[in-house]
Structures are given as C-alpha cells and as structure tokens.
Symmetry: C2
C-alpha cells in the first residue's frame, strides 16, 4: 500500500527549487552567466587542498579492509576524539569522545538531535526567520514545529513572543546562528537572555528544555568576529554542525552532533543517537569522508569571497534605499522588498534575470533572500542590473 | 525532555555485539589470532583496486566545487543512469534513472523503501530466519514487523504459514536472499510461488502488496550460480541493494533502491524517497563515494574466499554429524545446535574460543550462525578446534 502522506508531498513545490529550476532553464536560453541566480545556498569555493590530499593519503596508505570497513554506529573513535579536541581548544569546552556523534551533514545531525530530546506530540520552537526545511525535519519525527515571530528590527530573538510560545509541551528550542536567511549572528547578550529564559521555564515546568543549535555557517563570520558558541551559554545544548560550508564539501554529507558535557543525560545522548540511527537507516557517515574530515577538522576553504560579496550587495542595497541589516555571517542577505508582496517583487526582479527568493516561507513575509555564494565577478555584474530593476520598477520609492 | 523510548533501547543488548565484544576482550588476553571469532558479518577481503583508482581519479581530475557539491536529494543523474544500465544488462530489466535511488547502504535503502510502501499501523511480513535489525528498521517507521515461521528443512519460504499470516493489513513482504543467517538462496520456484501468492492476496484485499527484496549478498553466490533476481518474478518489487559486500566497502555506506518499472506508482516512488529523506536526514550518500561506485558498478572484490571457507566448514559440520544446509551464498552457515538450547551450546563453544551466534533472535531457535568472512587460514585452524569441542562436549551425540 503506497504511503499517501509522502505521495501527497510530491505536489508541494519548494519555492527555492522552483526558482532555481527557472534560473537553470533561463540560463539555457541566454547563457547561465547572464542569469544572476541568487536562489541557492550552494557553496561556490573549492574545498581546501588539504581535503584532497587527505583523501589521497587515506586510499594510498591505509589497508582497504580497515579504511572501508564498518564503523561503529556511533562513529570512529579517533574521529570523535579529534572533533572533541578541536571544539575544546577553540571554544573552551570539555567534550569527550562520548559527546560527539558523526553524522551525514547537519540534516543528519538534526534528524538525531530532534529525536533524542523530544517525542511525538512535543513542541519544538524555532525563531523566525528560519530555514524552511526545519518543518519536515521536525514534523516528520512526530514532534510539532512552532514558529516564534521574528524580531524584524534586528533578527535577534523576539523574547516577548518567545515567552508567549513557551509552554510545558515544549521539549526543545532550535536556533540557527549565523542565520539562514537573515545572515544575523546571535549576540552573546541574546544567547544569555535565551539561556536565562530556558532555565526559568525549565524550572517552572519541572523538565529540561533542550537547546538545539544548528551551526552550519559558524565559520562564515564577517569583520573578523567569532560567532558566539551557543553551548557556552546553556548546559543543555546539542550543537549540530556540518562541514558543508567550512570545508566546501556539501555533497560529502559530513557533520556531527556535539552534546554539552553538562547536559542532562550527556553520556546517554550519543548512544541514543546510535539507536535512533537503526530506525532511520543512518548507520554512520562514509568512513573515508569521516577520516578525511578528521585530518582537516581545523581547516577551511577560502571563505573570504562571501564577505566580499556581502559588502558589495549590502552597499548597493543601502544606496538604493532598501531597509536591510548588515549580515554578521553566512552567505545570505535579507532586505525588505519594495512592495508588500515579496513574491510579486521577486517576480518583477526575475524579468531582469535577477533571481531572488521571497522569504514568506522562512517566516519573514515582505522580505527576500539573496544567496551570494557565487563568483564575485558575477556579483559585480549584477549590481547595475539591480539598480536598473529598482529604478525602472519602483521609480517613486 | 529526553526521549524515553530511545533511552530504554540502550539497555537492550544486541547478542551479536555482546559476543563480538567478548571475542575482542578474549583476543586481548590470548591474542586475537587465537580467537575463532565467527560472530560478525564484516567483509574481510580488500576492495578492488578499481575502487581506489576511481577515488584518486575523481579527486585528481574533477573540479572540487562540482565533485563535492550538493547532489539532488534523489541522487546524481549519471549515477542513477549507470546503475539502471547495469541492472538492465545483467538481469534483463528495463529500469530508467527515475527508478534508481542511491542510498547510504542497504539500511538507508530499507529505511526509504519501507516508508514508501507502508504507513504506521500496517503490517510487514518477514520470513524466518531473518536479520534481527529488520525489527528496528520496520517497527521504528510505525509499521509492525510480523515474522512468518521458517521452513526449517530448506530455509526457503514456508508457504502454509505465509498464507496464514497474510491479511488485509499487510502492506509489504520483505525477503532477503541470499539469506542472513541461513545462507539459503531462494529458488526461482520459491520466487514464482511467492509472486503467485502475493498476486492472489492483493486481488483478494483490493490493494497491492509490495515486495521489498533486500539483496546485499546478491554477488556472493556459490557453485557458479547466479542468484535469481526477485524483481523478475513480481512487478511490485523494490530491490534494496548495498555495495558493502560486492565491493567490500561497508564503511562507505553506498547502495540503492531500484523500483521495478512495472510497479504500482513506479515513477513516484523515487521522488517519494526524496521526500522521505527530508524527514529522516538522509539527503543522498557522499557524492565522492557515489561517483566512485558509478565507476566500479560492475566490479567486485575477490569474493571466492567465502566459498572456500564455506566448503571447509560445511564439510566439517557434516562430518561431525550436524544437521546443516549447504549455503547457496552469503558468508554465513547455520547448523542445528547439538542441544535444544542454542545459547547454551554457543556458551560451551566459547570455552574453546569458538565464537558462534545462537539464532534465536533470527527467528530460528535451536540453531547457530557461523560468519566465515575471515581468513581461510584461520578457518582451517578452527576446524580441529570445532572437532575437539564437539567430541569433548557432546561425546554421545
């Protein structure tokens, strides 16, 4: 008997994919170099040479039976140790290998973290604006996603609204800083206030509210800043990470869950993730990729292009009179559209071969996302086109 | 709120793992070469050189942004095409790329296939003896595993019992040939009878009963035989495959679901798998591994060692008077224990540093599994030990 739930999901078109497909089709007409495709968050810089060297070294110099053999479900011990060491050194944490669970990217990390700290029927709060894939990530576990409306001034957390949404059914709160789509980085002050709120509410409800911190953009921070490490501020934090952006290897599907050693059930959660894997078919990432990551855990691709692109676009949007926050990281910027209907705005932009994504689906209606993980040369060529689009379509702004 | 369900799973000890851990601990006492560890189904032959060469060629000669970039959720088109071509050529099928879904091994394949063709509350039948991990694979989706008792003569399907277990709540039947733990290969006759039964029952209940065929051991067949390809016999078949054994790369987590083009909803099932992925955090296997598999799809490791080992063990067990079927494939053999309580039998064997697994948990009480994916030299050294064990412990057999 075919599963009608998944069959019905096929008719729900993802707006980002629709726009990306439009951009590809348009590119076939006029040359893709002439389509300013800001739709997809797909890293555009090469992986560091060290990653390639690590792969070659592993296949050249390791017994293939060992190299390609089964890993334990909770990951190779040496990989878990190396990740713990790196996090401890960089963020002053005290992770042990038992707190590190290698996963197939951040999606795999979230699939385990959410299941570990919630059960079907529980609520999980996210703060708008938020990554729309959180909806299936959460709701398909049986837990229920609840969206706390955004602080549209700063894209930090709207604490008045958060207070209203917290209730005794909330098992966990999921944050994403640096943020897709806004590019905002949660400040230390925001993280402290969030920790205080969660502590107070956990005490009030008599159970721990967990914090799941989704940090795939952690290494893309601008102005020389370091992104505050959420787990430093709240004991009961599960950090979900992906090397997709830092090493520029999104197709390799490698990341981890790191469980704060001060967390409730800290030593159980990774073994629990091993049990969760049995039900969702995960069973550890590729051993070759896991070991190559281990050898390059502190490296990054050259991420400076994203800051260059951000500054070009930010300055242009400001100059054109857009309401826009300067991103603290990621490769996204989220200006306010020049009319109330952001979809109509993006539709008009597409006539100029500018592919922007309206952020209604991200819980931020009236705004649009610009993903600038493309060549700087193309960003530069897009600037006069953005100017032309705005001046022609919105002459009286 | 910690998830009690997964927390409680931690206390359920897996018998295979317990025995394997015992073997490792014992190995530290007396040298692992002196422990005849037949507990784990972990391939022991090296991957073919072609796999290593494919990996090196890919990282040396492909633009890293393309090589390591995001794959579509349903997999790289060229990989899907190559897998379809290979299956069509080898088994006379007519798969198109839309019928092929690359996965993280057979576990990933089953996680998607089961969800695609059943919903929570539906029943899924497996035939004893069966791989115990099917229990979490099935039950964690919300569907319910039902075990049809074995045909203990031949380890083919017990059709009288199958008839009794089929009812209108059965969404799918899951088979595993060549079989873990028995080593049996389902004959064409068995597959034809099964197809007839499923057709008749589907008509009777007014809905299609799907067949999920889990075939990780398909390339380990003995006596020069080819394993009959289940999908040839029944339209509504989802074939789940893993390259773990054929290429001897179990740690790399690569396999696929292949949907019979004649299957109900044939063109929907792979896109549905893409939707399922969003909820379970799968999002396609590693792109490097997927592409290396593509380049080696028709290769295998040197699998002949398993047949050599099987013959040594089979002849010894027969000579010692065991009731035992000669395996048609896999790297398992499953003789009947020399006393009713197979756990007690295996306990006694462990005093001789022979590590066997009682198959009570595989739905075959009174038998034991011998996993002979170890060096032939070690198998040879184990034979006098098996003889000694049997003669001392069961002198009056």
């Amino acid at each position: 008997m075919i599963n009608e739930h998944y069959l019905n999901m096929l008719s729900n078109k993802n707006i980002i994919r629709v726009l990306s497909e439009y951009a590809t089709a348009r590119g076939q007409e006029i040359g893709y170099e002439n389509v300013f495709d800001f739709s997809l968050g797909n890293p555009s810089v090469p992986a560091p040479d060290s990653f390639k060297e690590a792969v070659i070294d592993l296949v050249e110099n390791t017994d293939p039976v060992k190299l390609h053999g089964y890993s334990p479900t909770i990951g190779l011990p040496q990989v878990r140790e190396k990740v713990a060491e790196s996090l401890n050194r960089r963020f002053g944490m005290e992770y042990k290998p038992i707190h590190i669970f290698p996963t197939s990217g951040a999606a795999g990390a979230l699939a385990h973290a959410i299941r570990a700290v919630s059960k079907p029927g529980d609520e999980i709060l996210v703060f708008a604006p938020y990554f729309p894939e959180y909806t299936p990530y959460i709701n398909e576990t049986g837990a229920v996603l609840k969206v706390v409306p955004a602080d549209m001034e700063s894209f930090q957390i709207n604490f008045d609204e958060a207070e209203k949404y917290l209730n005794e059914n909330v098992a966990a709160v999921l944050i994403n800083s640096p943020n897709n789509p806004s590019g905002a980085v949660y400040s230390e002050e925001t993280l402290k206030k969030l920790a205080e709120l969660l502590k107070r509410k956990s005490a009030e409800y008599g159970h721990t509210i967990f914090l799941i911190s989704d940090e795939p953009y952690r290494e893309i921070a601008f102005d020389g800043h370091q992104v505050p490490y959420a787990a430093k501020f709240y004991d009961h934090t599960l950090t979900c990470y992906s090397f997709s952006k830092s090493l520029s290897i999104p197709g390799e599907r490698i990341g981890y869950v790191a469980v704060n050693p001060a967390c409730e059930h800290a030593d159980d959660i990774v073994p629990m993730c091993g049990q969760i894997s049995r039900g969702i078919g995960h069973n550890c990432p590729s051993s070759l990729i896991m070991l190559a990551m281990m050898k390059t855990v502190d490296d990054t691709a050259d991420l400076s292009v994203y800051e260059t692109n951000m500054n070009l676009l930010y300055d242009t949007f400001v100059d054109l009179g857009f309401t826009v926050n300067r991103p603290g990281g990621t490769f996204y910027i989220m200006p306010k559209a020049l009319e109330e209907d952001a979809a109509a705005f993006c539709q008009k932009a597409s006539k100029y071969d500018l592919i922007f994504v309206p952020t209604d689906g991200f819980g931020a209606p009236g705004y649009f996302r610009v993903a600038y993980c493309i060549d700087t040369e193309k960003v530069k060529r897009s600037l006069p086109r953005i100017r032309e689009f705005v001046e022609k379509e919105y002459p009286n702004r």
